[in-house]
Subunit: 471 residues, 2 copies
Amino acid sequence: MKHLLAVLLCVGATSVVLAKAPSLSDADIKTAEALRDQALQDKTAYTTLESLTTEIGQRLAGSPSDARGREWAVAQFKKLGFDKVYTEEVQFPVWERGIESCEVISPFPQNLAVAALGGSVGTPPEGIQASVMEFVDFAALSAAADNAAAGKIVFVSHRMTAAKDGAGYGPAVIARVQGASVAAKKGALAILIRSIGTDYQSRSPHTGVLQYDQTTVRIPAAALSNSDADLLARMLKRGGPVNVQLKLGAQTQSQTFVGANVIGEITGSKWPDKVVLIGGHLDSWDLGTGAIDDGAGVAITMAAGALIGQLPKAPKRTVRVVAFANEEQGVYGGKAYAAAHQKQANQHLVAAESDFGADKIWRFDTAFGPNALPLVDSFMRVLAPLGIERGANDAGGGADVSPMRAFGMPTVELQQDGTHYFDIHHTENDTFDKVDPAALAQNVAAYAAFAFLAAQVDGELGPPPAPPTGR
Amino acid sequence: MKHLLAVLLCVGATSVVLAKAPSLSDADIKTAEALRDQALQDKTAYTTLESLTTEIGQRLAGSPSDARGREWAVAQFKKLGFDKVYTEEVQFPVWERGIESCEVISPFPQNLAVAALGGSVGTPPEGIQASVMEFVDFAALSAAADNAAAGKIVFVSHRMTAAKDGAGYGPAVIARVQGASVAAKKGALAILIRSIGTDYQSRSPHTGVLQYDQTTVRIPAAALSNSDADLLARMLKRGGPVNVQLKLGAQTQSQTFVGANVIGEITGSKWPDKVVLIGGHLDSWDLGTGAIDDGAGVAITMAAGALIGQLPKAPKRTVRVVAFANEEQGVYGGKAYAAAHQKQANQHLVAAESDFGADKIWRFDTAFGPNALPLVDSFMRVLAPLGIERGANDAGGGADVSPMRAFGMPTVELQQDGTHYFDIHHTENDTFDKVDPAALAQNVAAYAAFAFLAAQVDGELGPPPAPPTGR
């Protein structure tokens, strides 16, 4: 209720400036074009990501390497010439993976490659042994009668489809997020889902967070690799009972952990208190080294900010680059940022998070007010030569930005090509070797040009349309 | 010495028939064409491989699932209508993988994905901790001074290149086969090699067998995934010492295991004691489910034999399909077959093993005597429509066939396209979903046509040229 009031107030405050149409000068466009072309030749993002993945590696929120990652981010912002570098506290619970195994006991003894879902409870040390009951998708599981899966291990076998805009993720990921509690309501002892991923070439399960209902018993939950989901489905097709033993050592620590968002700024020359926010999230899952999710986003936006910082004259507004804490397990960094900066929501001209891998940007989506929509053409003059199309005016802005978006802050999304993103998303295969330096530089060019232009805008970009739902 | 004498005797015996040029009738060619076309539509190999990988899975030699695999093979031969099904004893030591981990301790704590090499000894339970010394390839390691790597963990970073004919394997695999003993001679405590594999998209290490020198201390040996080899190389490039802790629970059991080659026959109608041998190896590594290595070879040759067995009239010679035991850890099945059948070497017209994956066959290599070379044209009349070229007359025949080849038996190789074979070879990713049913059927068509024609040949195909060396 308090939040809703805040949204109304902010939207009201923003609407005051509606009368004045925002603008950019030709000189600003020229500077942005030069920044863009310089960025295409610049290796800062690539060397930054190389450094992060080589010297730190995986950064599971709350782990020792997550803490090393924060130290790295502070040092890297300073090294890249940001003139203000600081951290802001973020609190969250710490989840640990522990051991994990999944074994078909009968009729065809085989090991299945499995990864606990983030936030899952563990099994008893001796594991849970039960026969498997397959549901073709989350809807079929939801539609089952109460106790339909009593004493069973539920298996949701639905396969995610690949798409440039990642459209297959939403319909598939609900099984990961809500499957455990729905299965528990049907009486299941545990749940196995087919990995939310589009790969065929690897036997690597895709982890990712789940959400337990507050009122439902918490059952262990894990993802099978696509290959192993196929294998289990083939066993089940033979008709007889398939008995599986699942062992998960996963647990959540009782103490709250204090992490931090790490922030670097290029201070504005005219309106230092006004902010253009770009960023990525510093945490990752533990299986790979967090290269594409989301070392790339951190590296892209750090490099974009650094290039802006090297301009002869600082931009009018402050360019704030945020390396968010613990996005993966519940957008903790983004929520903490919004809680800390809610009152300054209308000092944020616009925000964008890079968190969809390291492939090229192909579309520029906005969430601007009607008055600011003509200005999209000015942005597009600089972005179109990068192969970027104009998109819709419904941008969410990215997970860590969405809580501020709810307070009336305009956002954009520089949409990356996600055709192959979900092949390696949340797997052990998320490593530096998957990143193409040219594609990464194209991202930096787009972010540098966008952030610089936004920092120069004379006027405001809001109020944005209502935030999208169901994302 | 005894072996050499046997070779000379056999070659002598075969040369007696040199005067008579072998031949095939037009009716034989027609039957082979019909078999070929039928095989292209036949699903037996695919369902056989589905059954093997689903109901049995990995078949590490000497493991319980290896034993289940033999029972499966006996039952499957019978199910497919082979009129004689039997086993022949094969003895070998049993190697167990145990736990395995590799951790960079300093300066950049990270886990590296690792797999023990087959036959490796284990580390002490607390592991081996030492700094890493990189060699760019096996030659560089070999050229190092004695004690150059004293107290170190050696890392051979050479990357294998992909090629249609697998030509990159030989130059790379020597580091896996001989690296441990050479590193031990330089004083190393353990050896890590970059995986002998061509994948970029997975963090899966490639296992495979090593050979220890009899006179050198045995040190633990493991393969890093390509991604992790890159990572370690990047760490080392920074100049300071990189300390790694390697733990391997690998061991070889003291008792010899008694396994078996499993054999199915379509008995010859005219010369039942004369044999055309085709086959694959039934054992696999333990990380995947042994689909392309070498469930495919077993399925292809079983299906080819089964189709021949369905002909209205059995072919003149016996078609013998052999599912060899324990190829992976030292060609034990092939050597046992040769030891048992050495005296009947000249009753084997020709032999071929399918053991290079499940992609399409593109070349027909032979090892025939000069008198038989014109007959290759007859085989090619039936094979060329499958997209198969005529190759050279230097075929080795495949690992399990090579010991018989050494006794003067002619061989052929139906060369598969190996461009992507080493992406998943010996990894956890060797699973059924990688197999294209159409490519598998093309293999069956080639093997069925070849084996039928060979069984009909009036005359002999030898003596073959001297066996190739260094393969």
